[in-house]
């Protein structure tokens, strides 16, 4: 047990969410690969870019556990883009998936990370 009024566990919680998001990107990257093998050349590039994003997200999460200020900034920037992109997809009449899983992964999770990484007087990022 810890004394919750003295030490914040927000960075660890944010790490867990970033790890979850990183695995989501990992699955998306792996899933795009067969289409590249089927002749979709650009999909190969997107698969690699997605896997790199998964790695970057995971590293940002590790940096946050280590209380690195830069990792916090990168994670917040990443998480601001995610719901913004999801909102555009949901607002345009393109039939984007708007099921509970999509809302959880693309909207709720990034917002939760941003909330967890907001300025906290108990938390010292270096």
């Amino acid at each position: 047990m810890i004394r919750p009024d003295t030490i914040s566990t927000r960075p660890e919680a944010a790490f867990v969410l970033l790890l979850m998001q990183s695995v989501c990107w990992l699955i998306a990257g792996i899933a795009a690969a067969p289409f590249a093998l089927g002749g979709e050349l650009f999909m190969a590039g997107l698969a690699v870019a997605t896997l790199l994003l998964a790695l970057c997200t995971c590293l940002a999460g590790i940096g946050i556990v280590w209380r690195r200020r830069r990792a916090r900034r990168i994670a917040i920037a990443l998480e601001v883009v995610c719901p913004a992109g999801a909102a555009i997809g949901l607002l345009l009449p393109i039939g984007a998936n708007s099921g509970p899983v999509s809302l959880l992964v693309n909207v709720a999770l990034p917002i939760a990370v941003i909330v967890l990484l907001r300025k906290d007087r108990r938390e010292a990022f270096s």
Partner: protein, 360 residues
Amino acid sequence: MFSINPGHAVGLLAGLIAVPAALVVLRRNRAWRAAPGTHQAAAVLMLVTAAVHLALIGHHLHEHPLTSALFLANGVLFIVLALSTGWRYWRLASSTMLVATIAGYVIYVVAGLEGPDQVGLATKLVELTALGLVLVPVRGERRPSFRRTRWVALGVALPALFVSMSASLWIVDLVRPDARHVHAGAVLQATNALPTQAQWDAANQLYRETKAAIAPFTDWRAAWAAGYRPGGSQTMPSTHWMNQRYVDAGYVMDPRHPQGLVYANSKHGPVLLGAMFQMKRIGEFGPDPGGPATAWHQHENICFTPLGFEFSLLTPTATCPLGAISISAPPMLHVWIVDNPGGPFAIDIDPKVVKAIDQA
């Protein structure tokens, strides 16, 4: 996988209601108030999953009483665990329970006892997150036991569980689609089971008229002159050529104005395979004179990238590759003028046909 089983909707509602209710209940619990923030959050998520399982008992009670009993046990145990965050073995018991619940769901889906749907997937995501929050070591723990093991579990076992769960559910969904999901991402128009003679006659008439109308486009230059343009990569075996003017005009199954033409990308140049009618809006299926013989289909939950106009599939976690967005295409109907084993109105052209054309 991307729809909600109507019988499971109550579970989704219960899960949503459980979030504020859990916060109200847990705030009164002394052990929860003294627990680290990660454990507090895990307890809230466990109450959410408990609510989902308890709400689904009624749906399964008559046909699968064992499932209902498991849901009851699951719900009660998660409530007990959420209320006992101060217990010495709480972390071990919670992680065991969460892993068992996730594994149980995957076994149920793989065994065909349950179909993967949005409520099930969302609940598993909540449980995986709760598992991560239970395992993650935090600073200043009074009982910092097995920290290294927990980091390994978090960094290796949790992602492995997540990936294997997603892969299993996805494979099951692709291998055992329901009657209206003919192939990955395509939903078939609801029709009668077998075509009547009148429907066969109407289908044949549509085929004859379309074949005659698109005959001039055997020469791709004529199609180009008429406003058709390749709508995707020409490195693929075949490409849809779309006429934006006809798409915007909203012609409905007009053989003289098909919205698309399909060409095989052979070594001799584009070879006409057939036409494609497309409706203007998502979810609006077109007229169906041939009944099941001319059923329209709609591609849902596909990932589209403007880079090369390429497609892939949305993952079970509703994620697209970077640079691609989730879209659904309006309903479409193909008319194949070459011999296609699946028939002249099949959703897809047989790859062997395209290969044979290329080698001819």
